[in-house]
């Protein structure tokens, strides 16, 4: 039954409804969106017994304060947020019951940038172009195409499943402020000087505050082009690292533009996207090159791991 599951008391800094993204529409310029850190997001779903791709709430830096509209089972995964229920601290990476009338306060981040709240039974928002994800640029999908605001009512179909499922501590990712991010070079690496490629793979870059769901702007030693920074616009994948004339890299994230006209030095491999998604401003990033084979081996391993967890949790 469709029930009001949450009333928004405080919306937090940027709280949106996200699933694994909207695919099939990039040819119309529609970005996939979806959870920035799909690893934490899927684990939150698995812990409450949902399909791993069910829509969740993504909180950024400062989480929302929500009043439960019914009894339900929830789990919060991702960056470490000081989460409380009626003033009592609750643990993340663990499913627990929430009673009607209780106040869930996700607090502010201590480590990592984003936390994911999954509700057993999912979130009931319209499916727009095959996805429940919020497109902030397009102003559609999710909750009325925008971040949550005070007094919003969120609906769901809560199912009571056995709570207290938790993740083994070894599986909980640590989000620190020094990252090594693996990349596959290309497609425009020949447009950079050899020195710049070496520099990119050896020097440290810093995440600036001008970073958001669209992209992460980094600051560091200037990357030089051989023949200018502009290309004829072409499609940009998740994790594409574009370098405009300023020589400062921008990594394209979930709400990225589908195509762009700046040279791209490389692409962040898919298993490292969640780490980057949790990076707060001033995080230092060093890039290292990996082969396609290695990146896909890691991807397939991650897929298999998720499948095993999903089966184990059912």
């Amino acid at each position: 039954m469709r029930t009001a599951i949450f009333k928004v008391i405080k919306p937090g800094l940027l709280t949106t409804v996200q699933d694994l993204g909207r695919y099939g529409y990039q040819q119309f310029g529609i970005s996939p969106s979806g959870a920035m850190d799909p690893y934490s997001m899927q684990l939150a779903n698995i812990l409450v017994g949902n399909d791993q791709g069910e829509a969740v709430l993504e909180a950024s830096f400062l989480g929302p304060v929500l009043e439960a509209g019914s009894d339900m089972v929830i789990a919060i995964c991702g960056g470490e947020f000081s989460t409380k229920v009626d003033g009592r601290e609750v643990l993340m990476w663990k499913s627990f019951p929430l009673k009607k009338g209780e106040i869930l306060s996700m607090g502010s981040y201590k480590q990592g940038a984003r936390a994911y709240l999954a509700i057993a039974g999912g979130i009931d928002v319209p499916v727009v172009l095959k996805s429940k994800s919020t497109s902030l640029n397009g102003g559609f999908g999710g909750y009325e195409g925008r971040p949550l605001q005070k007094s919003d009512l969120l609906y769901g179909k809560p199912v009571i499943r056995k709570p207290w499922k938790e993740l083994h501590p070894e599986l909980i990712p640590q989000f620190n402020k020094q990252l090594t991010i693996r990349v596959i070079l290309g497609p425009h690496q020949q447009m950079f000087t050899e020195k710049s490629i070496k520099q990119f793979l050896s020097e440290e870059y810093i995440v600036t505050p001008q970073s958001n769901r669209m992209g992460y702007r980094l600051k560091g030693p200037k990357l030089e082009h051989q023949l200018g920074s502009d290309i004829i616009s072409d499609p940009i994948p998740l994790g594409g690292i574009q370098v405009p004339a300023s020589g400062q890299p921008i990594i394209l994230m979930a709400d990225r533009q589908t195509t762009g006209g700046y040279t791209r030095i490389g692409t962040v491999i898919s298993v490292d996207i969640p780490l980057l998604a949790q990076a707060v401003p001033d995080t230092t990033v060093s890039f290292t090159e990996v082969s396609l084979e290695e990146a896909q081996r890691l991807y397939l391993e991650r897929q298999k791991f998720m499948k095993l967890l999903q089966v184990a949790a059912k």
Binding site: Y23, Q26, I232, S233, T258, Q296
Partner: protein, 240 residues
């Protein structure tokens, strides 16, 4: 044809350099054949000026297999039906606060703002692709005389409807976005509207022609658009 990985979940098939209709026809015909091939494991494909990105799931199809399939499609010849293209006529209010880079372009090319407008409007531009953000058309056919470098530091925001020039390209931003292009005007027309059965007002393979309007006409058309009463005028392209 050149195939490269784009990270671990996509590949890029490139058909040549530069912006021209011959290379782009190969992109279009490749994309059409790819759609019909129904290869398992492909998530979606995104055609661009001279390349196509193919997003795939390595658990369903390996990189090597995918590359072989792409080569196969490229080597198959076959006709693709091409309908006679439409020309969409798009009203633009040039210059002013919503076209703040018009003076820069005029100065850069040592011509008057009038001349820039005349060179930009009254010309049929091929829509090579829709990309960047929902409903954004990438257009071909910009006069060489209007080509300008992109901004070194992209602006964090330009308003919906802004019309810009970046390098040899011109286009319209359907929503508020960051942009490194030089902004020369604004259109009251919505290129992307989810309230419509087909959210994309225009489609690739067709053409756009701009015409210059004054501020009063801009306001009048904007009101009609808001009331959903504005009808975009179109005609069939001559000799298309």
């Amino acid at each position: 044809m050149d195939i490269q990985p784009l990270g671990d979940l996509a590949i890029r098939v490139c058909f040549g350099e530069g912006i021209n209709e011959t290379i782009h026809k190969r992109v279009q015909s490749f994309t059409s054949r790819l759609h019909f091939s129904k290869i398992n494991g492909i998530v979606e494909c995104v055609p661009a000026y001279n390349s196509v990105a193919i997003y795939y799931r390595p658990e369903l199809i390996s990189y090597t297999k995918l590359v072989a399939e792409m080569e196969n499609i490229c080597n198959t010849s076959g006709d693709v039906n091409i309908l006679r293209p439409i020309v969409y006529e798009i009203p633009i209010y040039y210059g002013g606060k919503t076209g703040q880079d018009l003076p820069f372009i005029a100065q850069y090319h040592q011509m008057s703002e009038e001349e820039v407008i005349n060179l930009h409007a009254n010309k049929e531009y091929l829509i090579y692709m829709i990309g960047f953000v929902p409903g954004f058309p990438y257009l071909g056919g910009l006069s060489q005389q209007l080509s300008v470098p992109r901004l070194e530091h992209p602006r964090p925001k330009v308003p919906a409807g802004s019309v810009g020039i970046g390098g040899d390209q011109t286009g319209i931003y359907p929503s508020e976005v960051p942009s490194g292009w030089r902004i020369i005007g604004i259109t009251p027309v919505k290129l992307f509207d989810l309230d419509e059965p087909n959210p994309n007002l225009i489609s690739a393979g067709n053409y756009i022609k701009f015409f210059s309007i004054n501020w009063n006409e801009y306001q009048r058309i904007k009101n009609l658009v808001d009331e959903k009463k504005y009808k975009l005028s179109t005609y069939l392209k001559e000799g298309g």
